[in-house]
Symmetry: C2
């Protein structure tokens, strides 16, 4: 076992650069052009060409909305124009954590409050009491009262409305962690993605600046690092130990990067994991914090799945909470925690709400973060309001409390059942092994592809897992993402599949997937 780990480490170090390029899905030539390009005339202007655009843009890849999705959209248009033109009736998007697109219903209380804040002039009308719960009306008033001039259509403070940040800090973060939170540390953002970009923009000066990222990782990180011209320094999660994070490996990767002249600025941790679904143990988090402190790294903690825990005995602990429990304060470690309204049981992706909690930065650096936030003026106010709601939902005694908890628990328990059903299904397939989804919204099974399939992929200039994923799409209408979009140990192949299809659809999906896989393995049997 130790020998295996050492071999693996050597392989990984050698594959430092290879890993970065393998983050792309496959060569563009293996896919048709996008709908946008198909819809365009055959125009060509000399003003801007691929050769003259920012090469960082060219380098950036974002697999979860990559070519496979573009291809799926094309098939969907085919189906609309010519029903029956493909061996399936609908496209099933399991490529992205987008619960409401697959039928998850929004939480009623949240939407009531949002609707009332959109059109406050109905708050005083009698009919409103027939349509909205009393605590939603009360909450809308509370929110309006913390918005200067009750102007929900005004730009807010660049960090977001102060009163909403105060609610997030006190009722949300401090009560979750048991440690104080300062509302001045909160930056409300249009989802977590712009927050991640903001930090990358702050930290990356050139390709000599590196960011330690888990592999596999959520490709927002590789994309953002590429767009900002930095270097992704990979550390590998260990599939055999349930995607565990080994500090010794982290140290090794750091030293290796340093020996190549890279200044490592930050460490990204995604907990619960995306695409891997593991929930870090407290002891592991303590090691990570110790490591960041010792090595003077900013800890970028992606905590957007904090409400998505399915495994018994597992619980979410924020990295800031763990740091504080170790006695480390603002002076000891720089931590940025990202949260989003898109995930959790709420799944409000379209609202683009979220925040980052920025701790342990000097006042002058924080002013720079504030300045960058100011250039975009503020995040959208509905998203700001929703961020305050998910961090401060109805409490016992509120009129909506029972219906709220029923909706929340219904979604979370269904997600847990779906995770288990898909995990079992994957593990029943020939050559497929799948770790448990302890949390988050995905499974990331490993697929041992037959040599003939790998050769067939090469013959059409495709990465093997992308080849598999494309065949799956064309056979079943199911859209998933090839593991190469997230990074994986070279020579291994994976897929990422969300656990989000509604339960009544699950049996059909599982049987379509199984039938496809069997026939694929049969076709390429060595």
């Amino acid at each position: 076992m130790r020998r295996l780990a050492a071999d693996r480490a050597k392989r990984l170090i050698r594959s430092f650069l290879a890993a970065q390029s393998s983050l792309s899905v496959s060569s563009p030539s293996s896919f048709l052009s996008s709908p946008a390009s198909a819809a365009m005339s055959t125009s060509s202007t000399p003003t801007v060409s691929l050769a003259s655009i920012n090469p960082k843009v060219l380098k950036c890849e974002y697999a979860v909305r990559g070519e496979i999705v573009t291809h799926a959209q094309r098939l969907q248009e085919d189906l609309k124009a010519k029903p029956g033109s493909h061996p399936f009736d609908e496209i099933l998007y399991c490529n992205i954590g987008n619960p409401q697109s697959l039928g998850q219903q929004p939480i009623t209380f949240f939407r009531e409050v949002l609707a009332l804040c959109e059109h406050p002039s109905i708050l005083d009308r009698d009919e409103t009491h027939g349509l909205f719960s009393a605590d939603a009306i009360a909450r809308a008033w509370e929110i309006l009262d913390v918005i200067p001039g009750r102007a929900t259509g005004a730009y807010s403070h660049s960090q977001g409305i102060k009163g909403l940040r105060e609610a997030i800090a006190a009722a949300g973060i401090a009560s979750r962690d048991g440690y104080p939170c300062n509302s001045d540390d909160i930056f409300l953002t249009d989802g977590a993605s712009p927050a991640v970009h903001m930090m990358m923009q702050l930290l990356i000066r050139s390709e000599k600046d590196g960011i330690l990222c888990p592999i596999p990782q959520y490709p927002l990180y590789s994309a953002s690092i590429a767009l900002h011209g930095g270097s992704l320094v990979p550390y590998y999660l260990d599939e055999e130990t349930g995607w565990g994070l080994e500090i010794s490996d982290l140290k090794k990767q750091l030293e290796d990067a340093r020996s190549k002249g890279i200044t490592v600025r930050a460490l990204v941790v995604i907990n619960p994991g995306n695409p891997t679904g593991q929930v870090l143990a407290e002891e592991n988090q303590r090691q990570i914090i110790e490591f960041c402190k010792e090595e003077s790294l900013v800890l970028l903690a992606d905590e957007v799945y904090q409400e998505n825990i399915y495994a018994g005995g597992k619980e979410f602990n924020s990295h800031k909470k763990i740091a504080r429990s170790m006695g480390y304060g603002d002076k000891d470690i720089s931590i940025v925690s990202f949260q989003s309204v898109s995930k959790g049981y709420y799944g409000e992706c379209g609202k683009r709400g979220g925040y980052m909690e920025v701790t342990g930065f000097s006042a002058d650096v924080r002013e720079q973060i504030y300045k960058v936030a100011s250039v975009n003026l503020c995040s959208n106010i509905s998203g700001q309001i929703l961020a305050s709601l998910v961090m401060n939902p109805p409490k016992p005694g509120d009129e909506s409390y029972d219906s709220f908890t029923a909706e929340r628990d219904g979604i979370l328990s269904s997600l847990a059942r779906r995770a288990k059903a898909l995990e079992d299904a994957f593990n029943s397939l020939e050559g497929v092994t799948c770790n448990k989804a302890e949390g988050a919204m995905y499974l990331f099974p490993r697929i041992r592809l037959p040599t003939k399939a790998i050769e067939a992929a090469k013959a059409v200039n495709s990465v093997p897992d992308a080849f598999y994923v494309r065949r799956l799409l064309e056979t079943t209408g199911i859209v998933i993402v090839p593991g190469s979009g997230f990074g994986q140990v070279p020579g291994t192949w994976h897929i990422r599949c969300t656990i989000l299809p509604q339960e009544d659809k699950m049996p059909a999906i599982v049987s379509r997937f199984k039938a496809f896989h069997e026939s694929f393995m049969e076709e390429f049997r060595d």
Copy 2:
């Protein structure tokens, strides 16, 4: 006159680099630290310092939310904590085009539709018909019907919901311009700012890439160019001819930049102008298009004030319309038009809605723009819906049409009156001259400051116009932005003031401003 122009041109060329540095408001040392920093403990971590962050972030300045605003926020907190602690009762934010923060009411129809889309389950309820207009209910249904699965909480297509883009393209842009618009050319964005960043990110490879920008300019452009590491190539609007744009000056600046080894990629035009308020004449727009075509420049057309026209005989023409009227199509010129829900008569800044219409780019470059849009998944859905509403408002015959037009015209005619009142007020001040605000939301008067005031500013390490603006704030509570935040002909000093305070407040503002100015001029009389 010609001699003067030639002298000016020489001065301007020499000041190429100086202009870029003069875009900053003043040296930080002239202001106290920000509230965020004041709230922080005296922590210091070695992890990140000003010396180790991305220098592009350090270089970026954004005056309309700069130090003067931070100072104003501090005074506001003073007033709250200790009423009477300053010689004014309230802070009046005239620094930013944020109409609803100053009491402008949202358009009822828009907010009705947004509220219904937030909480569609009330659409079928009887009480709803008592609370909402029939056409708002009908429109909400129409919108829900173009959203896949009616899921307003789902991520949309990376460019935005197709059905909303179709409405913007057909009912909005094509009907406005009289030329076709393809919905595939529309990218819905969280306000115009992210769209501008996206284009800068695409076009700028290094400091050797230049973007021609008007001076004075809206500092989003200088900030975005700085953040993306490019060079701002200034062209000067001529204050004496009502902020006219001379093509000969444009050519001169282009050649000058090229002689310095700068590859100029694009030309920014802001029409109606910000901060200058001029509305370009058609003939001038034709010259600009011809220039961009000849010089292979992308035309970045900031058209967010397209509904804000106050001067009789002036009208808005999109640059794409003018290009098409000249017979130039997609193959001839690359034009990006930016629009936002934050401006116009709607002024919905907090909603963060907007779009860019991208025409004349090759299919492969457009795929790159799509990819960058995908990394942030999508813009917020409420903002997307609102963008479709402002581009496709109620029509004659709709139940809301009369009340909608009354609200719209009330706001626009009031803005016109306010613009005139402030213009007259500025022109009545000693040493101040102010061009007419033909459009947009600002006046940009020139102030001839006494030498003693300039010396007093230098003595406290401040730029003279920032010194004036700070004194104004501390004396009256009125927040405006120094001209140096927008750029100005070296040696001249300006201020930008929005026309947005409500009419009932205008007389008091004007008299406070006048009293301040008189006493300032008296104090520093040479």
